[in-house]
């Protein structure tokens, strides 16, 4: 085989593609996720689950790496999900939407309940923890937000082990109800979607999480609700 020969990814053997997709999944370590907190004062705000809070999580403002931090410098930056954003949720975000095969790999790696179609017993959860090295039970939840009217992004977090870094505009006015709503300490057994507690929004428009549904790639994959 000539060294200069270029092989398109889709024609690589499935085993090789699977290996590449697996290497793209976040490592089994506690992650860190950044979100800006802002007040949704729009008249369209209408969420019965957040009667006491109209704060929302949104795209963060991130200084370039090795830049000296100051609140003023950060506040001058544009908000964006991608530039300079070191959040763990971006590492494997693309696997949810790249293609059907990448979706299968990330679902298998995270053992999502949507794929598994049943809850985890404590013994199964402990077995998985030892086998895969993850610190917490596979209670990953995936959230869908829209960059614009056509694109969507899927986030995966491990609420039991990850760090959520909040960037409120005025830290003295941070609405802690948002924190309690978004990060409830009481959860159902492992394997249950908890995304009903989350409500993502972009600066340029609201985007609700899709409760109990997994990313769809057309008629080839049927949504399976956990």
């Amino acid at each position: 085989m000539a060294a200069a020969e270029f092989h398109f990814f889709p024609v690589l053997p499935w085993e090789l593609r699977e290996m590449i997709w697996k290497l793209s999944v976040r490592p089994p370590l506690p992650g860190a996720h950044l979100f800006r907190v802002y007040n949704d004062s729009s008249p369209n705000h209408n969420n019965p689950d957040h009667e006491t809070s109209n704060s929302r999580l949104a795209a963060p403002q991130c200084l370039p790496r090795n830049t000296r931090f100051s609140p003023a410098a950060r506040a001058a930056l544009p908000t964006s999900w991608t530039p300079n954003n070191p959040s763990t949720y971006l590492i494997d975000s693309g696997l949810w939407s790249a293609c059907k095969k990448s979706l299968l790999v990330i679902e298998k790696e995270f053992q999502t309940p949507a794929r598994r179609q049943k809850l985890w017993s404590p013994a199964e959860a402990e077995s998985l923890r030892r086998k895969r090295g993850r610190f917490t039970l596979p209670e990953t939840a995936t959230y869908m937000v829209s960059d614009d009217s056509r694109r969507r992004r899927y986030f995966t977090v491990f609420p039991d082990q990850d760090l959520f870094i909040l960037q409120p505009r005025d830290i003295t006015a941070l609405n802690w109800n948002l924190v309690w709503d978004s990060f409830p300490i009481y959860s159902l057994d492992a394997g249950v979607w908890r995304q009903e507690h989350w409500d993502w929004i972009q600066p340029w428009g609201p985007a609700r999480c899709v409760e109990g549904k997994r990313p769809s790639h057309g008629p080839g994959i049927r949504p399976r609700v956990g």
Partner: protein, 162 residues
């Protein structure tokens, strides 16, 4: 069946809070404690981006071990894509030139005036802990007597590039 989980939330430390004896920041500290102290298993971290590892630091020998730091427990570490956030233990941070502690605060503070309520990032965290102790000791303990509730924990994180 319900289970209780730990939640880790962080705020980015503002250097303007380094030396505070009164005013909105002090009220803010009391407010944080008031709003977070009844939440159960909840950790609130402060991230001070100025803190760096001290190149002069040397691990103590077994004989020289003290009760400073985190004891036998490894530090909590959270990994982002190109950096990580590392827990700092008590007495592990130095804020004067020439110190030999594990972490360098990245700034110097005068220790001549002990009346500051907040004195640096670690002082801010300590103020949160003290305020929390006050609350449980003198105000609210009877509410939760006998209940199996884990309290909120406050801590300090440094940011290191990977």
């Amino acid at each position: 069946m319900l289970k209780v989980s730990v939640r880790h939330t962080a705020l980015e430390y503002d250097p303007a809070w380094d030396e505070v004896s009164r005013g909105p920041v002090c009220e803010f500290i009391a407010d944080i404690v008031w709003k977070t102290s009844v939440t159960g298993s909840f950790s609130l971290w402060l991230i001070d981006y100025r803190i760096k590892r001290n190149s002069r630091y040397r691990e103590p020998t077994a004989e020289g071990q003290t009760k400073d730091g985190l004891g036998d427990r490894p530090p909590k570490i959270f990994y982002a894509s190109d950096r990580r956030f590392v827990e700092l233990g008590n007495q592990q941070i130095g804020n004067w030139a020439g110190h030999s502690r594990m972490w360098d605060a990245g700034y110097e503070l005068s220790d001549e005036d002990p009346c500051f309520f907040v004195n640096g990032a670690d002082g801010f965290v300590q103020a949160l802990r003290d305020k929390l102790d006050d609350r449980w000791n003198y105000e609210e303990h009877y509410w939760y007597d006998g209940m199996d509730v884990d309290w909120v924990a406050y801590g300090l994180l440094a940011c290191e590039p990977l």
